[in-house]
Each structure stands twice: as structure tokens, then as C-alpha cells.
């Protein structure tokens, strides 16, 4: 028995539970906060559980929430492995959605599937364009990508506001007092298929398939090898004949493209029109930031991002349900999310320690270093 436990404890699959344990610890602290707020934590957390997993509809909502997180997380897997920090997911998602929506609204009548497919491509390219700019600026003008992506987010929001209240406004709205800044609704034929009565849409299939594509891209193609090599050691890569600058642009471009696609899927799968409340979050739900967290939860591995996005989606959906049922302020939910992120990211130390221990135990001669899943935390002394 003891042996069995030890085996489980040393198993590499157990590593995946470390973030879960960390998240639960954060929830335990949240429980104390709830007591201070005069809310029974048991009632609150039960509401959270039920809201995320309690029914088929809840489960569908969780998956719906996970889709943009997964897509943006995939992009982050690519860019972080090239050691490029893309915090422009919000803006890239917005531009992707704008491009896809404009395509659906203004293209002449075509079969639904064709429009959907082409709109997805439009979203992909829209995001790619918005991601390529900071990539280009970083590679050729040495402009730090954190700076440029933060600025590009703000620019994208204002562009969205301009288009939705101006050129792209719903023709019906333009005549009304209220003038809601929203586009016309996309025709029924252009909507992604749904599993009725829930809101679960076909976007989830696209996202999961792409997770495998990104996995193949990163680990089984030359491009993926180059991206990882650049992230691991740019100088060595340069000597090895890799065009480092080009890889940086490609990494940010792809990262942006996935965010743009996420935006397109939000429109064609969920909202069917684009609406702005003036903030980026109103449309993205902070997926641009949460996607980064998702990717890290998944160990920067495209396949790891699948369960990670599901988990994080559940957390977000459950937290909203908790707000509704136990009437805790929404602010608590945001603070709790923050705690979960801090705890989970801090738990990587133990995960890493376990991996190191196993490696020593097995004395395994593994493939070249770039395949390390935790290279983002790589120590300089290595």
C-alpha cells in the first residue's frame, strides 16, 4: 500500500494535480474571506460547483468559456516558447472579431459554411496582423513587446468603438434614440452549429483540433523547432543558422492569429453580432489575460492547455454563479481569481522539484533541452 502511494506520488501524472491543489488552497483562503463577508462558504462554494459542473447547461457554459481561453492559450504557448511575452491578446481578439464580423456583414450572399470558414480565416488574419506589428517592431526596431502590446490593446479598443458606433453600426440602431454601438446581427445561416438547448457551439471542436495542430507544429516541424530554439538560446540559434528575427515575428504573428480566431469564434458561435460597452473586457471577458494564465497552467504545452482552459473556464463560470446565488460582491470573485492565479503559479516550484527528482531517479537521457515544458522558468545558471 505504501509502495502504491509512493508510486502515485512519484508519478508524473500527479504533477498535473499540483495546480489543482494550489487552486483549492486559494479557495480555502477565499472561504475565510467569505466568513468575513458574512457569507457561508459552503453555500458559496457549492454554488460555484453547481454553476460550473452541476448540469449539462452548466458544463456547456464552462466549455463555452474555455474556448477563447484555449485558443489564446495556444497562441501564448507558441510565443512564450520563443520567449516573447504577448499581452496583446485583448487587442488581437478585438481586431480578429472586427475583421470576421465585417466579412460576414458585407460579403455578398454565399453558402453559410463557406462564409463561416472564410470569416474564421478573416479573424485569423486580423489577429495575425495585429500581432505581427509588435513582432515586427520587436524584431527590427527593438521595441519591447510588452510596451507595444499594451499600447496596441488600447488602440484596438478605440478602433472597435469607432467602427461600432460609426461605419459598422446596425442600420436599425442608427435611426433610434439609443444608438447602441453594435453591428447588425449575422444571418442565421452564418452561425456556428450549437448543441441546443445549451450555448455550446462548434468552436470547441475547432479549438481542440487546433490544440493538436499546435502540438504537431511545435514539436514535430522545423518551424516549431526553430521557435523553441530561439526561445531557448537566441545566440546559439543565430550561430546555428536560424533567422532569429523572423522567428520572433512569426511567433507573435501566430500568437495574435489565435487570439483573432478566438474573437471570430466568439462572434460566430456566441454573440452573432459585435457590441461594445467601451471597454476591452466587455467583449473579451479578459480572455487575452486569462489565456496567458491558462497557457501557464497547462505548462506551456498545447495539450496541457486543454484541461487548463477547462479548469479556468470552470473557475470563471462558477465564480459568476457564486455571485448570483450567494450574492457576494463581484469584487470578491475577481480577488479570488487573483489568489488562484498567484497560488497556482507559485506551485510550479513543487512541480519542478518533483520533475527534477524523477529525472535524477531515472537518469534518462532525454531529447534536446528545448522540449523542457518549464523553460519559461529556466534558470540562468543552466
Amino acid at each position: 500500500m505504501k509502495n502504491f502511494l509512493a508510486k502515485i506520488n512519484n508519478s508524473k501524472y500527479f504533477d498535473g494535480f499540483m495546480p489543482v491543489l494550489a487552486a483549492l488552497s486559494a479557495l480555502a483562503i477565499g472561504a475565510v474571506m467569505l466568513l468575513f463577508l458574512g457569507v457561508n462558504p459552503l453555500v458559496a462554494y457549492r454554488a460555484m460547483w453547481v454553476g460550473a459542473f452541476g448540469s449539462s447547461n452548466a458544463l456547456a457554459e464552462t466549455i463555452v468559456k474555455a474556448v477563447p481561453l484555449l485558443l489564446i492559450g495556444l497562441g501564448i504557448c507558441i510565443s512564450f516558447r520563443a520567449k516573447v511575452i504577448n499581452i496583446g491578446g485583448e487587442g488581437q481578439m478585438i481586431i480578429g472579431a472586427l475583421a470576421a464580423t465585417a466579412f460576414g456583414l458585407y460579403v455578398p450572399e454565399m453558402p453559410g459554411w463557406l462564409v463561416i470558414a472564410m470569416a474564421m480565416v478573416a479573424g485569423f488574419f486580423g489577429g495575425a496582423f495585429w500581432g505581427a506589428i509588435p513582432g515586427f517592431l520587436k524584431a527590427y526596431f527593438n521595441v519591447n513587446e510588452i510596451l507595444s502590446t499594451v499600447m496596441m490593446n488600447a488602440i484596438a479598443v478605440q478602433l472597435m468603438n469607432f467602427f461600432l458606433r460609426g461605419p459598422m453600426i446596425d442600420p436599425n440602431q442608427a435611426e433610434l434614440l439609443s444608438k447602441i454601438p453594435q453591428t447588425a446581427r449575422l444571418p442565421e445561416a452564418y452561425h456556428l452549429a450549437r448543441w441546443l438547448p445549451t450555448r455550446l457551439h462548434a468552436g470547441v471542436i475547432i479549438a481542440v483540433v487546433l490544440a493538436f495542430v499546435v502540438y504537431l507544429l511545435l514539436f514535430h516541424t522545423t518551424l516549431g523547432y526553430r521557435i523553441r530554439a530561439v526561445g531557448f538560446n537566441p545566440d546559439a540559434s543565430r550561430y546555428g543558422g536560424i533567422r532569429v528575427r523572423r522567428q520572433v515575428v512569426i511567433a507573435l504573428l501566430l500568437s495574435g492569429a489565435f487570439a483573432g480566431l478566438a474573437g471570430a469564434i466568439q462572434i460566430y458561435g456566441l454573440n452573432y453580432r459585435m457590441i461594445t460597452d467601451g471597454s476591452p473586457t466587455g467583449f473579451t471577458g479578459s480572455a487575452g489575460f486569462n489565456g496567458i494564465v491558462t497557457a501557464l497552467f497547462g505548462g506551456l504545452h498545447p495539450l496541457g492547455a486543454i484541461p487548463a482552459s477547462f479548469f479556468f473556464g470552470a473557475l470563471l463560470v462558477g465564480a459568476n454563479s457564486m455571485q448570483r446565488i450567494s450574492q457576494v460582491p463581484s469584487a470578491f470573485v475577481i480577488a479570488l481569481n487573483g489568489l488562484v492565479v498567484i497560488f497556482v503559479v507559485s506551485s510550479a516550484l513543487w512541480q519542478e522539484a518533483r520533475q527534477r527528482k524523477r529525472r535524477i531517479a531515472e537518469v534518462r537521457d532525454d531529447s534536446p533541452p528545448p522540449s523542457e515544458p518549464d523553460q519559461a522558468t529556466q534558470d540562468v545558471s543552466v
Binding site: V20, L24, L27, A28, N57, K179, R199, D277, G285, N320
Partner: protein
């Protein structure tokens, strides 16, 4: 396992245990007498603006109907993420609330989709005129505010109160309710003093308090001695107005408490007019299909004058005259 890991694991297991032992919460049976109301708001219930106007009206309705025993009120605030709001709307509806109010025009698309699934639940949203009746949906109410009316009244007062003949306006995004109000304001001010300068600044955000404050500072530098603004980020501008001793005219909810010495008057949105009728129709088995507009005439909009502010009698008289004119239809804001 290191000691830290153990502690950590224990802690986590404890949390898990807590969660597992959670008693099943008894589903509250819908009392036949009790009206169950859920509301979803884009910002905080105390934003001194749009969300507060609805929350306050609902709380007052609750008192009017006889307290929490007669009307249950639950809310989700800060639901600025449109598809989170959609999940909330569906959830409230499936929990059997009698009416779900989605207090934001951006939620309209979600309602259009959800409402048909809950034909005996009433839904309401605003500010908009779209009830979707033309699309065969019969359980959605819509409401909007003729905020240009109070804007016009504020404009008349601002023009009369201004010595420098420069007025500053701080707005969020150039659309919707904000634009309607500001257009009304400019019309009122210009009608009173045609040569008046009205400077308008949009900050491009509903939340950037710092930029709203700086916009106010800019207005003061440009010579403004009366300012107005709309949406929740204007608290920053009111702070500046207070410090620079510039007069302020509010809208949406009462902003007097923030700076009693400089707030002249507020246009208040009182949604009770709408709510009362909706509740009455619901009692008769009608769950939607009607669009409301609150105006000065139907008392859904009213001007609240700050008693602590010494408003010159002639300005007050002119304001009252303007209100009457708008109600009678002799003045078109």
C-alpha cells in the same frame, strides 16, 4: 514529500472536504405571493450613475410593495462582460425568477435569444426601444430615457449660471444615452445663449476616472465655470469641479452627496414608473411586448435641485418654465 508540500496538501484536502460536506441548499419554493426580481447591471450598484438609478428604483419599489417578503430582489453587478451577463440572465430565468431585468442595451442580443425559452418569465432591458415583438417574442419589455430632456433643462440652467460663457462637458463614448444627454444639453444651452461656447470632451472610456478629471481640468483652463458630464467615470470630474469651485449639473443618479457646495441640480432617472406598469402587466399575464420611455412628463425623469445650493430665483424660474415647456410640448429638446 517535503514539509511544505504536506502542509499544502492538507490545506487543499481540507478545502475539498469543506466543499464536499456542503449541505444541499434547499431550493427556495416560489411563494405564490412573492414577486421575485433579478437584475443584471453593467457597473456597480453604487456608481452614482446608470446602474445606481435602476438599483435604487428597485429598492424603492420593494419598499412600496411591502418589503422583502413581498418582493425578492437579487442582483449581479459589474456584469460588463456581455456573455457572462447572458449566462446570468439564463440562470436567473431557470431559477424561476418572475422577471429578469438586463439593465444595459448591450444585453439585448442575449435576451432575444433566451426569452423564447422561458415564455412565462418576463424580461426587460434598456435603454432601448427593442421589444422584439416584430420577431414574435412576446415576453420582453424595453425601456429608455429621454435623457435629452433633462439635458436640455440642465443646458438652460448652465447657460444662465455661466459668467464666462464657457461650459465644459465630459462624456464617455460618443454614442447611446451619453450622446443623447449631451446633445440635449448643448441644444438647451445654445437656445438660451446662442453665442455660448460649449466644449465637449469624450474620454473614450466609462472607467478612466483620471482622464475624466484631466478633461475637467482642461475645461477649467479653457475658461469653463459650469461643467456637466455623464456615466460613472465623471466622479473624477466632479472632484475637480469641487476643488476648482466650478458648478456641476448631474444626470442619471443624484451626485449631490459628492460635492454639495457646487452641485446645482441632477436629472434623476426614476424607473419606478416603468417597473410599476411592468409588474401590473405581469399580474395580468402579460410578460412583455411594451416599450417605455421615461420623460419629464411621465415623471420617470425629474429634476432634483440641491437644497444646499443657493440657486438664483430667476434661474430656478426659468428651469421650471423649461420643464413645463418640455412637458407641454412647446419646447422640443
Amino acid at each position: 514529500m517535503s514539509k511544505m508540500t504536506k502542509v499544502f496538501t492538507l490545506f487543499a484536502l481540507f478545502a475539498l472536504l469543506l466543499a464536499a460536506c456542503a449541505p444541499a441548499q434547499p431550493e427556495a419554493p416560489a411563494a405564490s405571493e412573492k414577486l421575485r426580481v433579478a437584475v443584471i447591471m453593467p457597473s456597480a450598484i453604487n456608481d452614482l450613475a446608470f446602474s445606481q438609478s435602476m438599483y435604487q428604483s428597485l429598492v424603492e419599489m420593494q419598499a412600496e410593495l411591502g418589503g422583502p417578503d413581498k418582493m425578492e430582489l437579487v442582483y449581479s453587478e459589474n456584469m460588463f462582460v456581455v456573455d457572462d451577463a447572458a449566462a446570468a440572465i439564463r440562470d436567473y430565468a431557470s431559477q424561476g425568477y418572475d422577471i429578469v431585468i438586463a439593465h444595459g442595451s448591450q444585453y439585448g442580443s442575449s435576451l432575444r435569444e433566451i426569452a423564447p425559452d422561458f415564455p412565462t418569465t418576463a424580461f426587460a432591458h434598456g435603454t432601448t426601444a427593442a421589444t422584439f415583438v416584430d420577431e414574435g417574442i412576446t415576453n420582453v419589455f424595453a425601456y429608455e430615457a429621454a435623457s435629452n430632456e433633462g439635458g436640455y433643462v440642465n443646458g438652460v440652467m448652465a447657460a444662465l449660471l455661466s459668467q464666462s460663457n464657457v461650459i465644459g462637458v465630459v462624456g464617455p463614448i460618443e454614442t447611446g444615452d451619453a450622446k443623447l444627454y449631451i446633445d440635449g444639453f448643448v441644444a438647451g444651452a445654445k437656445a438660451t445663449k446662442p453665442d455660448l461656447t460649449v466644449n465637449v470632451n469624450y474620454t473614450g472610456s466609462f472607467s478612466d476616472v483620471a482622464l475624466a478629471a484631466e478633461a475637467a481640468n482642461t475645461h477649467v483652463s479653457a475658461g469653463a465655470d459650469v461643467m456637466v458630464g455623464t456615466a460613472q467615470m465623471v466622479v473624477g470630474a466632479i472632484g475637480v469641479a469641487k476643488e476648482k469651485n466650478v458648478l456641476w449639473l448631474g444626470t442619471q443618479a443624484s451626485q449631490t452627496s459628492l460635492a454639495p457646495e457646487i452641485v446645482v441640480a441632477n436629472q434623476i432617472y426614476d424607473w419606478k414608473v416603468v417597473l410599476r406598469d411592468i409588474f401590473k402587466l405581469m399580474g395580468e399575464g402579460t410578460y412583455g411586448g411594451k416599450a417605455y420611455i421615461v420623460t419629464l412628463a411621465n415623471k420617470g425623469l425629474y429634476m432634483e435641485f440641491n437644497p444646499a445650493f443657493d440657486l438664483p430665483a430667476d434661474v430656478k424660474a426659468k428651469a421650471d418654465e423649461t420643464i413645463q415647456g418640455i412637458i407641454n410640448g412647446t419646447i422640443k429638446p
